[in-house]
Subunit: 493 residues, 2 copies
């Protein structure tokens, strides 16, 4: 892939001086339109070999454009905060919102390339990592991000020359370290590895653009022109979500499904309940105080029909723990800030650090439940969400986070009873709205969506637990018990 | 993923009898419309556990629909023919054309599942394989195929019961083998492995549909209804290619590119040419007769400007070999049969068996050259072609096939000279057409396309060789020499 970037591209000084003012003006204008439209974010990846002008280019972009709407992120060794979370967390947290430009100087590629050069991974593992990256970028582009990936390349000879020039210059000498010279020696391997990675990750939606870094005028003009063309062409041809081309998911053709098989008559009398509550809350308390839990974390997801008792169950779980250990995140309509980001961003922000617990009262499953049923997102969007969610949870599990998911199920009749009760009891009135009644009308559509959800996202590592919740006491104990069992089983591993 | 398929789905006999005639009629009608429109192929994958009614379903489909337009493929151990080619070749050769239905009973998933159950692959290798499958199906759906993947599931208990019932029935006893009982023992592992694979390959474009196989009436109705809905909904909402959302690939911003760096003045005087020709043809002859070559094969690709001398070079290469060893495949406009298939199908057919040579006079690179420049395919199509081509060639290389690619380059002036010469020499007149003159007008656009092609598809394992071909003798020797060197280098490994 580097042939075109080793032929000595060069721009004449005079031409450069003529072209730059025009290009800068156009870039500023494009950026202004980007901010105004606020329809998509621009994600610029900057990678390449040492001495190919990466940092100079990054600085130039900030200089040429309005720095208020462009953010540059360098990625050194992960911080404490970051080490506590899955690898991709550090990138999710700084994704630019719609209308803004994020420059990633070093990115999700850096470690992959370095580890391969250092022979820390075998080829199959590298390909595994590549696959994850491809899926991640696929999600970004499907969520409308404009992803531009620049790879700056120079020959080994040029690299040597630059380092020597720096060393001679008293003002730049500090830039050259022993490691730099070590890396020059690894040049061939570095190129071989990165060529493989670039090729495998040069997708139709987010291809790599290799730029020869020797002549700064050529480099600058190329980057500027690519950027300008990419932004203006996307602005004039807005992203249209494509109709799903998949075979449709059908509702069950008999009247049986996983919810209808639940024994909804199960109850737990008060005395047994009290005893069990004390038992399991005590157990849960001990479990999260175990030393092994300090190397883990818990993400508990609560979903369920309106009035199924999510709140009550969550309170019983929370009551078992010190308030400093857990956070409850209620998920409602997304904020403006959240709407400007890929769908999963609002959940990534709340991933707990090691030894902590995050409880989600409703969750990322909204996309395949309410958003699907109410047509709040396209069919393609919720169809791909199953994959994205599985990916997301796999990353949590691989990071030793325990993922527990509860569906609180009540019958249609029980819901009616509770709705009516809520309307009559004054302090419960705030809990029932017109929307609840409207949702109720779509019971069947929700049922189909719930079954598809469980079928497509219940995994060995992050299983769904269906909770028969017509009896609140029974439900609460089942939740606590399951949680304890899952924690025990995982921590034994 | 199997929860919904373990709950005892069942259809009442009476309802079944009522619904089937209607469903069959609709299916036949849908199939008729599918054949008439001939806009997309339907690819049905049938997988699942033993005893879940896979073969019964496959037979039923042939019975319910018009068997002239539906083809069922079973895949046992690969044939001689198939073993000689890359793994995916056996599937490519039987892909259904547009308008037809292909049922794959066993598929590209079978070996992957079996190998994992037998612990023949480590998880990272499995994921590598999964990634390849996802890319393959992504290509199929991007090429408009409707891909429907059924997975038939029953519990271990049902599986046992069915086998015992077969054993008791004298007419069906033959169906039960020792292996079947061995496999029942591996049930848990089989489910665990296939759940992972199903989840990872359940993409938005081609999700798995898990069907409970216990009750044949439920199974049949489900398959029939999914199929009907999938075909009719695609017929009424034709596939629309989406505008590419990638940042555009720009032409070089200075006037330098990999072609402009070639020293086009190189020549080879006749006497040296004659000597070299004899030398390298002899060498090539010896190389393909080496015993190691019997375990390999050669795919040589010739691309170049009109009148660059592809034919002459190919003749010099061919002349070095026994005519039984090689085939020359001239690639012109695709045939009707080829147009009804995914783009790469017409090239897959010609992959040589071991020990043989296929020479392509023009090739799959047409998509990123003439089809790109002449707008014969969409931007998304040629943008994703770089990946598809790299994948394709990687499969060849992994199968020990040597891939050599030559771009024969001439200057614009030299082309003009040759065109004029062709017009004047009677026996060469057939070689020059209006189209050649028209192509010439788009010289710059072709140049950009060629540079992008070389940059994005020249790999260590399947490199491009740029041949300075203003002097025919020089070009022919460079081709022969490079070919010999590449064969030598690869066979040493």
């Amino acid at each position: 892939m580097f042939e075109s970037a080793e032929i000595g591209h060069k721009i004449d000084k005079k031409i450069y001086k003529e072209e730059v003012p025009e290009l800068r003006a156009s870039l500023i204008e494009a950026q202004f339109n980007l901010v105004q439209a606020a329809k998509f974010p621009v994600i610029i990846l900057v990678g390449g070999v040492d001495g190919a002008g990466r940092s100079e280019t990054v600085n130039l972009l900030s200089e040429w454009m309005d720095p208020r709407h462009i953010q540059v992120h360098g990625f050194g060794p992960p911080t404490d905060e970051e080490r506590q979370r899955p690898y991709m967390w550090r990138f999710w947290r700084v994704l630019p919102p719609k209308g803004k430009i994020g420059v990633f100087f070093g990115s999700w590629y850096t470690d992959m390339v370095e580890d391969s050069v250092a022979d820390k991974v075998i080829p199959a593992q590298l390909d595994q990592h590549i696959h994850q990256i491809v899926q991640f970028e696929h999600m970004l582009t499907a969520e409308k991000a404009l992803v531009i990936k620049f790879w700056f390349h120079v020959t080994q000879k040029t690299q040597r020359k630059r380092l020597k020039a720096f060393e001679k210059d008293p003002k730049l000498r500090w830039r050259v370290t022993k490691q730099d010279w070590e890396r020059v020696k690894q040049y061939d391997k570095y190129c071989q590895v990165s060529e493989h990675i670039l090729r495998e990750t040069s997708t139709a939606e987010a291809p790599w653009i290799v730029v020869e870094g020797t002549d700064h005028k050529y480099r600058n003009l190329t980057v500027g022109k690519v950027l300008l063309e990419a932004i203006t062409s996307r602005l004039s041809h807005p992203f249209k979500e494509r109709r799903s081309t998949a075979p449709p998911l059908l509702p069950p053709i008999d009247n049986q499904h996983i919810l209808s098989t639940l024994d909804m008559t199960q109850t737990l009398p008060k005395p047994e309940y009290k005893e069990a509550l004390e038992h399991y809350q005590g157990k849960l308390n001990l479990l999260v105080r175990q030393p092994q839990f300090a190397q883990r974390a818990l993400v508990a997801v609560f979903e369920g029909w309106d009035s199924a008792g999510k709140g009550g169950s969550i309170r019983r779980v929370a009551a078992a723990m010190d308030a400093r250990w857990y956070t409850v995140i209620p998920i409602g309509a997304p904020t403006e800030e959240e709407l400007a980001q890929p769908y999963l961003w609002r959940f990534w922000r709340h991933i707990p650090q090691r030894g902590r617990v995050t409880i989600f009262d409703r969750s990322w499953y909204g996309r395949v439940l309410v958003e699907r049923v109410e047509n709040l997102c396209s069919e393609s969007a919720w169809m791909r969400a199953y994959n994205e969610i599985n990916d997301f949870e796999k990353q949590l599990v691989n990071h030793n986070i325990i993922v527990a998911k509860f569906w609180l199920n009540i019958s249609k009749e029980e819901q009616l009873r509770r709705f009516k009760e809520r309307e009559q009891v004054r302090f419960k009135q705030f809990k029932i709205t017109d929307e609840d009644w409207r949702n109720r009308e779509k019971w069947d559509a929700y049922e189909t969506a719930i079954c598809d959800m469980v079928e497509r996202t219940s995994t060995l590592e992050a299983p769904w637990t269906l909770v028969e919740a017509n009896d609140k006491r029974f439900a609460r104990i089942k939740v606590l018990k399951t949680l304890c069992e899952q924690l025990e089983a995982t921590m034994k591993q």
